[in-house]
């Protein structure tokens, strides 16, 4: 049964990727501005009309739309996303360089988020409608309403500029450099997750098995740690998958504030320099990674939740 589902999901992914590839190609095709002019503008020379026409011929920009799309797609399938207009390097290289820093930042921010969100959600649920619950919910609300770019700027200002605890600008790509951007992202996500954890725990608390365990004389803390919390964590997986998927697409705002070179800032620079092959490559990359992450989440569910395996 699982094989059948997997096959179905794979065909779905292929269809969506085809759709996304067509859309991204169409978007660039319809875009105002002349990529050839933009390419010459980067080199700083003013080209003649003939030189530009030659360049268009060379890039295949004067062929019919569907032919261009077909050419482009078949190249993409071979892993060739074209050459960046602005830097003259293969797009696939430029993207793959940024994958490791993006992945590191994404994972660290998720860890920080969980460290903040889970205790807050659990404590908030245990003290439902008490003072502690209201304080926790206040924090949750703060995290949801604060613009991430403002949190980033304030952190940079107070920790980097005022207290000088961490370097504001450094070329070193290590853990220290990731800490502030990861905290900014983690804080912004924490509210949503704390709400989810709180809700899930409250719901589990009302289940029959909990009253049953308590009636058998099992201590409340054992029930909480051994039964309620593990059961309440499972639904987080879907959310984590979605978050990881979008984090891997880059987090332009935070990357720009902390000058952390990952995929988001690459995308922004591609957009400002009208680097069409790079924009297309970027869109395809995030579509692919987002769907793969979510596929992995779905597969892992059937292992973590035995009920689903049996199809109950």
């Amino acid at each position: 049964m699982l094989k059948k589902q997997l096959f179905k999901r794979f065909t779905q992914i292929v269809i969506v990727l085809l759709g996304i590839s067509f859309m991204s190609f169409l978007l660039i095709y319809l875009a105002p501005g002349d990529p050839v002019r933009a390419m010459f503008a980067v080199t700083g020379s003013i080209p003649s009309e003939e030189a530009m026409e030659e360049m268009r011929e060379e890039l295949g920009l004067n062929k019919p739309f569907l032919v261009q799309y077909g050419d482009w797609l078949s190249k993409c399938l071979k892993g060739d996303f074209g050459t960046s207009y602005s830097q003259g390097r293969p797009v696939s290289w430029m993207l793959s360089e940024r994958v490791a820093p993006t992945l590191n930042l994404a994972l660290l921010s998720l860890v920080i988020m969980l460290i903040i969100a889970i205790p807050i959600g659990v404590i908030s649920a245990i003290h439902q409608n008490g003072i502690i619950d209201y304080i926790c919910r206040g924090f949750t609300f703060l995290s949801i309403s604060m613009p991430d770019f403002w949190v980033g700027l304030l952190l940079l200002y107070f920790i980097g500029v005022k207290l000088r605890l961490l370097p504001v600008v450094s070329t070193d790509m290590g853990f220290k450099k990731m800490l502030l951007p990861a905290f900014t992202l983690g804080f912004a996500m924490a509210g949503k997750y704390a709400r989810q954890v709180r809700g899930a725990i409250l719901e589990e608390m009302n289940q029959d098995y909990v009253s049953g365990a308590l009636a058998r004389g099992i201590s409340a803390s054992t029930v909480l740690w051994k039964h309620i919390i593990p059961n309440a964590m499972l639904p987080l997986l879907t959310m984590l998958g979605l978050s990881l998927g979008s984090l891997l697409g880059g987090t332009a705002v935070v990357e720009i504030i902390f000058s952390y070179p990952a995929l988001g800032s690459l995308a922004i620079s591609a957009i400002t320099s009208m680097d069409y092959p790079l924009i297309q490559g970027y869109i395809l990359w995030i579509a692919l990674i987002y769907m793969l992450v979510n596929l992995m989440v779905d597969i892992s569910y059937s292992y973590l939740d035995p009920r689903l395996k049996k199809g109950v």
Binding site: V16, S145, L153, R195, P235, T238
Partner: protein
Amino acid sequence: MIAKKVQFLIFLIFVLSIVSIAIFAPYIATHNPNEAILTEATKAPSSDNLFGTDRMGRDLFSRVIYGTRTSLYSTLILVLSVLVLGGILGIVSGYLGGFVDVIIMRFADMMVSFPGMALAIAIAGVMGPSITNAVIAITMVSWTKYARLARSLVLKIKHEDYIKAAFMSGTRTHNILLRYMLPSVLPTLIITAATDMGGMMLELAGFSFLGLGAQSTSIEWGYMLNEGRAYMQSASWLMIYPGLAIFITVVAFNLLGDSLRDLLDPQSEDQVLQKKIRKTKGESLA
């Protein structure tokens, strides 16, 4: 219930006072927000310039006050366009069913299986930076939620007797859609839109912060923050006040949205999310 109503009223007053700041901006602002006095550039907050001045010597307090207009206006347009586009596609898709339904919903599925903001950034970037284009880009990736909602509501009432009666007595399709479907779908869509205002405002400000939304000609908080970023060491007020303005406004709208939902929908948000997760879990394995 009474406590909830009082709470709602307080939040409504909070939001209305922000709206009136936008309306009465010329009376509240102490200076002309566009008047640049270069000799007065990057002055610290004082009794004359409450929030200090920016790098062009413009009064920051007046700019923040006028920024309320841009922010509220563009967010309202954004939420309305998402609501209209999503609502129409959802109602049509649900009522007509068949081929139209398949096309619209497959398209919506495609948009969902993709991180929306990344696509919106690409769309806004390709169309060129402006608030209008940012609104169009975010609309293009956000309509699906409203379309799914409208569609599910339409499917629920589609087989009611009064709809059948209307159909049997020869009411035209567009009349059924407008007179029967729309009124039963609209309230839910509007509540959803009200709860989404804060989030949409953040997204728009984020676009402007990235330089993909408002440009230097308009007075916008996100853009002000982006400009002020470079002066973090020497003029920290340039990044504190516009950010605070965004924060307060978003808080106001989020509070109002949450309490509106509490008031109209006895089901808490936690439960709704819980259900949604269970549903996606079910769908993915079905």
